[in-house]
């Protein structure tokens, strides 16, 4: 094996390149049009452009990828995760082309991809299962309802062909089943090209624990311990750790054994993960087979950190026909590792994805960072909004959690709203500290989603913004007055937060500042005085003393975007124009798109009467569905979009006349 093509993008492509390079193997990237400038393309020894932008047009297009393989002369293909990684037809096509497939056999993929078949095989291997049922497309509504009732509510709708939370819905009761099914099928079709779904009992307050297994072509199968990935948003993992803090000691070995048994049952070759649901606590705890993922998992780094092994290296060795580098008893986990997934999304606003330029991105070196982006990258709406995985290993779980939280706090992330504060809040929460991490974690700790930055930090950062202004080129202090008369005013809109007005003035002895709410009249309302404010320029930062606490703040400007970082907190603001644009008032009125994306469904036409909350248009962005609803009752005057149309953020989709009386 001399040249690997990675049929993937972003961080996993870079991850594979890193190991390949270390093993003396050349690397080839394939890339879509929006990814042309991405770091993974630059880092590869060669790159092949794919025509198109969306996943379906590019990274999911088997023909284009195979064409790329032929063109660049790669003798091996690594599929990464997602995209074609669990597509048996692709694996077969690669193999048929005489190219090494770095992954399990197409049969293994197929067996585990069909979840019903997977369960049958698991049962045969003696692995316990959760109650569930198949749901062929042909069934009538009554039959579906009966099957659902048998499974029992609450239940989950899952895509038969999928994983990663795509096409997955929780259904609490029978009356919302139909809509959930339709929506899940649509998403499954979009993500996996197959709308088939199945039902499964939804176990509340359960944990998601998975076992990493590895098999080789010589009949060996080992496990590399477990990972707990219970903390999930919309069924997508965001915090993963190893070992599990909540798995009863008595269950660990049986779980490993079950995973290995299943892998052996199907003659598994390569990296795989057997996922389990762990329900109940202590003596009542039990585990059930969930599914097997026939690929390298996103969260594989936690296993690498505790075992000290390179799983991509193992994949390559196994694909070359070598035996597993270590026997079971030579694999000894050490310490505790935690990974978080840093997303460009706003947890407080329904995980609204955020696109744009990532002006700066650095993470303190205590953490391992697996990232597809770097400073200056544009994050587009075409793909998953994950920016990076940040992983820390330490001697124990507490140290790992605290070090990871501190690394996240110290990270510089400029230009995009991220879930950083939310991740920090999770890692620092009491519930996390005591290991009470179930899949209901975020529902039970909702404050971690809207992780509030303390008021004094917001005040400090506002002072830093105004205190950071440098002198004139001839050395006169910013805003200097020989007759200090009135406050200077600065309107700031916090990204993902409230707006405020800072009233400030340099005085002979320092700095006076106060703040007003964004809606206040700065010429009439009295600002809230911030008391003694210390401002002292320091290198490329400014030391702010507020409430007796001094902190060094770095203020970075990108046009009207202002980013403030102190060692523990970061905030981002947009400078509000001092003068309103008086001509921008007119124009169409109606619901607009929250993110850029592609219109999948248009549910209304001109003249329709709609009620508040009614779905007007469905948008797919970053593989997620966003339904755009009417914010009040009214009549549709004009529909401005059609299915398949790509739209920008904040585009009006439907013009509504909310005053018009129904006819």
């Amino acid at each position: 094996m001399r040249r690997i093509l990675v049929a993937n993008r972003g961080e996993i492509a870079r991850r594979v390149f890193r190991t390949a390079r270390a093993m003396g193997i050349q690397t080839v990237a394939v890339y879509s049009e929006p990814d042309a400038d991405a770091p993974f393309v630059r880092e590869a020894d060669m790159a092949v452009a794919l025509r198109g932008s969306t996943s379906v047009e590019t990274y999911l297009d088997v023909d284009q990828i195979l064409e790329a393989v032929r063109r660049c002369g790669a003798d091996a293909v690594h599929p990464g995760y997602g995209f074609l990684s669990e597509n048996p037809a692709f694996a077969e096509a690669v193999t048929a082309a005489g190219v090494t497939w770095i992954g399990p056999t197409p049969d293994s993929i197929r067996a585990m991809a069909l979840k019903v078949e997977a369960k049958r095989l698991a049962a045969e291997a003696g692995v316990p299962l959760v109650p569930g049922a198949e749901l062929p497309d042909s069934l009538g509504d009554a039959e579906v309802a009966r099957i659902a009732a048998d499974v029992g509510y609450p239940l989950m709708v899952k895509a038969s062909a999928g994983g990663g939370g795509k096409g997955m819905r929780i259904v609490e009761s029978a009356d919302v089943l139909a809509e959930a099914l339709a929506s899940a099928r649509r998403e499954a079709q979009a993500s996996f090209g197959d709308p088939t779904v199945f039902l499964e009992r939804y176990l509340k307050r359960s944990r998601h624990v998975e076992v990493q297994v590895f098999g080789d072509t010589h009949g060996h199968v080992v496990h590399l311990g477990e990972r707990e990935c219970s903390i999930q948003r919309r069924h997508q993992k965001i915090v993963e750790e190893s070992p599990s803090p909540g798995l009863a000691a008595r269950l660990a070995q049986p779980m490993y054994d079950a995973a290995v048994a299943l892998a052996q049952r199907i003659g598994y070759v390569g990296a795989g993960t057997v996922e389990f649901i762990v329900a109940g606590e202590g003596d009542d705890q039990d585990f059930y087979f969930l599914e097997m993922n026939t690929r390298l998992q996103v969260e594989h780094p936690v296993t690498e950190m505790v075992t000290g092994l390179d799983l991509v290296e193992w994949q390559i060795r196994v694909a070359r026909g070598e035996a597993l580098p270590r026997a079971q008893e030579e694999i000894v986990p050490c310490g505790h590792a935690i990974e978080v997934r840093l997303y460009a999304e706003d947890p407080a606003r329904g995980y609204l994805p955020n696109t744009g330029i990532l002006h700066a991105f650095t993470v303190p070196s205590v953490a391992r960072v697996d990232s597809g982006v770097e400073s200056g990258c544009e994050v587009s709406a075409y793909y998953d909004p994950m920016l990076a995985k940040v992983i820390v290993q330490a001697v124990d779980r507490t140290t790992a959690a605290q070090s990871l939280a501190l690394a996240l706090r110290g990270a510089t992330i400029h230009g995009l709203i991220t879930n950083r504060d939310s991740l920090v809040a999770i890692l620092e929460s009491l519930r996390f500290a005591i290991g009470d991490t179930t899949t209901a974690f975020l529902d039970e700790e909702p404050t971690t989603l809207d992780a509030a930055v303390p008021g004094i930090v917001l005040d400090r950062h506002c002072v830093a913004v105004v205190g950071d202004a440098g002198p004139t080129p001839d050395g006169v202090a910013a805003g200097w007055r020989n007759v200090p008369a009135v406050h200077e005013l600065l309107g700031l809109q916090r990204l993902g937060g409230d707006s405020r007005i800072v009233a400030y003035q340099r005085t002979r002895n320092g700095f006076a500042a106060g703040v007003l709410d964004g809606g206040a009249d700065p010429f009439a309302d009295e600002p809230r005085d911030l008391g003694d404010v210390g401002v002292r320029g320091a290198d490329d930062a400014v030391d702010i003393t507020l409430g007796g606490i001094q902190a060094r703040c770095r203020v970075t400007r990108y046009g009207d975007l202002i980013c403030v970082d102190d060692p523990l907190w970061s905030t981002q603001w947009r400078e509000q124009p001092r003068f309103a644009d008086r001509e921008a008032d007119a124009g169409a009125r109606g619901p607009s798109t929250p993110v850029p994306g592609t219109v999948t469904v248009v549910d209304v036409k001109a003249g329709d009467r709609v009620t508040a909350g009614q779905t007007l248009v469905v948008l797919e962005a970053m593989k997620m569905e966003h339904r755009i609803t009417a914010d009040s009752d009214g009549v549709v005057i004009e529909v401005l979009v059609e299915p398949g149309q790509a739209v920008d953020a904040h585009a009006i989709v439907v013009v509504l006349d909310i005053k018009q009386e129904p006819t």
């Binding site: 202004a469 002198p471 004139t472 080129p473 001839d474 050395g475 006169v476 202090a477 910013a478 805003g479 200097w480 007055r481 020989n482 007759v483 008369a485 009135v486 200077e488 005013l489 600065l490 002979r508 010429f523 009439a524 001092r578 003068f579 309103a580 008086r582």
Partner: protein, 549 residues
């Protein structure tokens, strides 16, 4: 790099390194200075608060009524017109002190940056007598236009004025006429004039927009007419509607007086900024020739260096060590004419020649100064005159030594010098010393005073003494016995009068300077002044009057 001035306040060079400053009177000077500054701050606070009367409650009501109409105070308007965090050098804030005009004259003037362009800004304070123009307002406005003309600064007027202060019409009608002439003369020499009207701008005031290059009128607020409805009724018996007579919309759509129609105050200021931006104004001076460096010594110490009693001398180099960049000073003719310190340094990165008094002017000093001024003109370097001067030396020996013709050389050089002069009144300014050191009458671009500054034809004591001697001589010549005791109260009263008419406040009240500054602000005030003078080309003199040899 020029040599660095060493201060006697510097513990590292003082024998024994004692903590007590060896400058005599540092502590008491500082205390006296802080007391003066507190008085000045109190006066400034009244000006800033607006209202213009002596009654704070009445003022507060006036201001509240103004705000109630959604209007801003003049310094708020200025802040919004300026770039965020632009410095602003306000001029003559205490003009009118000691007169029966409102303090500050109901108008704020100064220099600040709009889209990076330094502009002279003149803003009426409509809370002070409705923004009407008294003698102080007129004088301040004329001075602002003079500074704009000499330094080539675009002029932005923020207008809201009821016109002439009618009870004082006799004092302002004739001199006030020059305002409009000077406004159009600015335009004639290519200096842009922009006027934003937020309210009344009537009668003569209507010519402020009328004479400006650019006019912005605020909708439903600006009223611009030669005669208001009452006058129209009186003159031609017409019942005129205010809006039709002089409303912003009328002028924007019908008369054409308005170039831009603003929706509200903020919109007017936004348009004003936009106009200045499109001027693409470029400074014509050479600009700074190096990066600014803070002085080695703390300007805070300037509070204790100048003597509280102007009769007590103080070391001018101690001041320069706290004003010049890096405290660097290349002294010229250090060994000759020791009571006039001359040399080169930088302020805010701008090169500057310095003449600073260290005592009475003798012949040597006069000639040294005259030579130095010519050198600065050769190089095209602005000159800072730091005045602490009780006059030219008198006495038989000095008259015979030619003090008149030597002093004349200095005055000749000062008068005909064409590089910008900045004059800093850091102590006494008595007699012809004021002239030789570029006093107000010698057209320095800017004059700033410290609170301890005293200015008169001579010191009050000397003046009273001279008066006594003259009176005695007169009495004796007419054969009347001079009664010293009887004359004493008269002499004291005269001394008192001269004293009170020679203070910094008295001087600033009459616009003999461009404002009293806190000594700690000296560097910033001079830097901004130097920046302003660099808006115009800097050219040295090519000829002088005949130097009498």
């Amino acid at each position: 790099m020029a040599p660095v001035l060493r201060s006697r306040l510097d513990p590292t060079i003082r024998p024994g390194g004692s903590a007590e400053p060896p400058l005599s009177g540092f502590g008491s000077n500082r205390a006296a200075m802080l007391e003066s500054l507190a008085e000045i701050d109190g006066l400034l606070a009244k000006v800033i608060a607006g209202g213009g009367s002596g009654d704070p409650e009445k003022n507060a009501k006036t201001v509240a009524r103004h705000r109630g109409r959604g209007k801003l105070l003049p310094r708020e308007r200025i802040n919004l017109l300026l770039d965020r965090d632009s410095p602003f050098l306000e001029l003559s804030p205490l003009a009118g002190w000691g007169t029966d005009d409102p303090l500050g004259g109901g108008v704020a003037t100064g220099i600040g940056r709009v889209h990076g362009t330094e502009c002279m800004i003149v803003a009426n304070d409509p809370t002070v007598k409705g923004g009407s123009q008294g003698p102080t307002s007129v004088a301040k406005g004329l001075r602002a236009m003079e500074i704009a003309r000499l330094n080539r600064l675009p002029l932005v007027s923020l207008t809201e004025s009821g016109g002439a202060d009618l009870p004082k019409q006799a004092e302002i009608f004739v001199p006030g006429g020059a305002s409009f002439k000077k406004l159009t003369q600015l335009s004639a020499i290519g200096i842009p004039t922009v006027t934003l009207v937020f309210g009344s701008s009537t009668a003569g005031g209507a010519y402020v927009p009328g004479m400006s290059d650019y006019v912005v009128l605020q909708k439903d607020a600006a009223r611009v007419y030669l005669g208001g409805p009452p006058l129209v009724k009186m003159a031609i018996d017409e019942d005129a509607d205010e809006e039709e007579l002089g409303g912003a919309e009328m002028h924007a759509r019908t008369s054409g007086l308005a170039d831009y129609l603003a929706l509200d105050e903020l919109d007017a200021l936004r348009i004003g900024r936009q106009i200045v931006e499109h001027l693409r104004w470029r400074k014509a001076g050479p600009g700074p020739d190096r990066a600014p460096v803070e002085p080695l010594y703390d300007p805070e110490e300037l509070l204790g260096i100048p003597s509280a009693d102007v009769r007590a001398p103080f070391e001018a180099r101690e001041v320069l060590a706290r004003v010049l960049d890096g405290s660097e000073f290349e002294e010229f003719k250090a060994l000759y004419g020791s009571t006039l310190v001359t040399g080169w340094g930088h302020i805010g990165g701008y090169p500057v020649g310095v003449l600073a008094n260290n005592g009475i002017l003798f012949s040597q000093e006069s000639e040294k100064g005259a030579q130095f001024i010519q050198l600065c003109n050769r190089m095209g370097v602005p000159i800072l005159f730091a005045q602490n001067i009780t006059g030219f030396m008198v006495g038989t020996r000095y008259e015979q030594g030619g003090i008149i013709k030597d002093g004349a050389k200095l005055i000749n050089a000062v008068s005909n010098s064409t590089v910008p002069h900045l004059t800093l009144m850091m102590g006494a300014s008595y007699g012809a010393g004021n002239y030789g050191m570029s006093g107000r009458a010698y057209d320095p671009r800017f004059v700033f005073s410290w609170p301890n500054h005293r200015i008169a034809v001579m010191g009050p004591k000397q003046l009273a003494g001279v008066l006594t001697i003259v009176a005695r001589q007169k009495a004796e010549s007419t054969g009347i016995e001079f009664d010293d005791a009887a004359f004493a109260p008269m002499r004291d009263a005269f001394e008192q009068q001269v004293e009170s008419q020679s203070t910094a406040l008295f001087a600033t009240g009459r616009l003999w300077d461009d404002g009293i500054i806190d000594p700690r602000d000296t560097r910033n005030a001079l830097t901004l002044s130097l920046s302003a003078v660099h808006s115009a080309p800097i050219c040295g003199a090519e000829s002088y009057g005949v130097f009498r040899m």
